[in-house]
Symmetry: C2
Subunit: 140 residues, 2 copies
């Protein structure tokens, strides 16, 4: 469940505190993308005494380690998804929030073409794909 997150945090040399364990468990229990506000609501529902700031701090930490990644939803909200630390992109289901990961499938060709045309040196890119997962598609 949340063991992977905790293990990775430990590896990174940060302290494994009570609040961090609890928040990690909340994250593991979610599926699809979630916002900081979601976690704050979860925490208060379960009467965990964790502070709002602690949740933001842990999200930052996890993002630094590449264990979660920030996704900018089309409506402007900032969401997170649990994540492999290697470079890849996300498909986001606009109906249920489910996430699929795709590794580079030809995007390097796109960036180098764009670089050639524009004269820019490209240092990073962000690709987000929005659509419907197999479930939500068949459920119509």
């Amino acid at each position: 469940m949340s063991d992977e997150l905790l293990r990775a945090l430990d590896q990174a040399g940060v302290r494994l505190t009570g609040p961090r364990r609890e928040i990690a468990a909340l994250i593991a229990k979610r599926n699809g993308h979630f916002t900081a506000a979601d976690l704050i609501a979860d925490a208060s529902k379960r009467r965990l005494g964790v502070g709002r700031a602690t949740i933001f701090r842990l999200l930052d930490l996890l993002a630094e380690q590449g264990l979660v990644e920030r996704v900018d939803l089309p409506d402007g909200r900032h969401a997170y998804v649990p994540c492999e630390p290697s470079h890849h992109h996300h498909l986001v289901c606009v109906a249920c929030g489910a996430i699929a990961e795709v590794e580079d499938c030809g995007i390097d060709a796109v960036t180098s073409e764009a670089s050639r045309r524009s004269g820019f040196t490209i240092e990073s890119h962000r690709l987000e794909l929005f659509g419907r997962c197999p479930n939500c598609r068949s459920a119509n």
Copy 2:
């Protein structure tokens, strides 16, 4: 300068009011990306009496018309860039904020490959490329 924006707004059947003309002029005077806060600062520096809300409202309007597009900067800020109303993507210079537009250069292949692998139906995508423009690259 700001004539294009105004003409397009007129075409879309919205009223060409004083505040809208002034804000359009501010946008035209900018280069590269800008935030709502930038415009608010510009407006107050020139002692235009335009309200904060009016600026947000016009940005929404322009975005609906595809005359500006929102770019989510890597640091989480929401910026806007003046824009052609047709689909395309942006290269953003991380040093000076300059923008270049690129039309689809092979991204359809990427999305259909991702769709095939994941089973998702893809409805929209967002690609943002970050790097350095020719100027900033040579200036080192």
